[in-house]
């Protein structure tokens, strides 16, 4: 078993475990902390695919910026004592989990019955995931989408400020 395979199973199991912890914890702060572990596990999986720049971005943007924002909002909301956080039992939970397991089973059967034929990463994988190559493609072929994303971020900033304002005055 190669090192890559070992790390795939390690980070894959960690990712699934952390994701399950996120959706089952009652306290949103605990969920948010497990979420950081999930993002770090995904960063490890990106490294097994030799996507080094994506792995760094994952840690910086998700585990760094987005989770700080989420925890900040949880602290701001002051959700009261833990007793009130208890969720009522609902038959939806069992039904949704069963349907989810069925969906994963379908994916498993489908993928095993029709192999994609790609049994190993491309030999150029580490070259493709390098900052040089990604920057080269991003700022030439994908320049217009890149600029469009900057507009999207501007719109999101304006939207967030407007929504979070207490009262809109002319």
């Amino acid at each position: 078993m190669s090192v890559n395979t070992l790390f795939f199973f390690l980070f894959g199991a960690a990712g699934i475990g952390f994701a399950l912890a996120v959706i089952t914890r009652r306290n949103p702060v605990a969920s948010a902390l497990w979420m950081i572990g999930y993002f770090l596990a995904l960063a490890g999986l990106y490294l097994t695919l030799q996507a080094s720049l994506i792995a760094v971005m994952q840690v910086l943007i998700y585990a760094g910026a987005i989770m700080v924002l989420v925890i900040f909002v949880i602290m701001l909301l002051n959700l009261g004592n833990p007793e009130q956080l208890r969720e009522r039992f609902n038959p939806r939970v069992g039904l949704a989990s069963a349907l989810g397991a069925l969906l994963v089973l379908q994916f498993l059967v489908f993928l095993l019955s029709r192999p994609t034929g790609y049994t190993a990463p491309s030999p150029k994988a580490s070259e493709i995931g390098s900052p040089e190559n990604l920057g080269q493609v991003l700022f030439t072929d994908y320049l217009f989408p890149f600029e469009a994303v900057s507009l999207l971020l501007l719109a999101a900033v304006v939207g967030a400020v407007v929504l979070a304002k207490r009262k809109l005055e002319p």
């Binding site: 959706i23 969920s31 993002f39 994506i54 609902n90 949704a96 990463p121």
Partner: protein
């Protein structure tokens, strides 16, 4: 030395995505629903990076950049909506907010 086939990553990605879907369907807390959406976006990112590495094509990883930008925008606006909701209704439980239901 055996290497992993592409299907291993796709199946892991599908499993993580399904966990995110189950989270959205079963939880009532809007913040946890938002985090479940992030779980799903990350699961899709994993398949994009896997396709990119196995097919030897950089465009999958570029798409991941755009998904990350959209996820950051979505988190900022989503959390602002939750703040506005809490200010008006004193709750973040989605089943207690039903003025738009009928």
């Amino acid at each position: 030395m055996s290497t992993l086939p592409l299907e291993a990553y796709l199946l892991l990605s599908a499993t993580l995505f399904t966990i995110g879907v189950v989270g959205v369907l079963t939880r009532r807390n809007a913040i946890i629903i938002l985090m479940s959406i992030e779980i799903m976006l990350n699961a899709v990112n994993l398949s994009l990076v896997a396709f990119s590495a196995y097919l030897g094509n950089a465009e999958g990883q570029l798409l991941v950049f755009f998904v990350m930008a959209v996820a950051a925008a979505e988190a900022a606006v989503g959390l602002a909506i939750i703040l506005a909701l809490f200010r008006n209704q004193q709750t973040v439980y989605v089943d207690e907010v039903n003025i738009l239901r009928w």
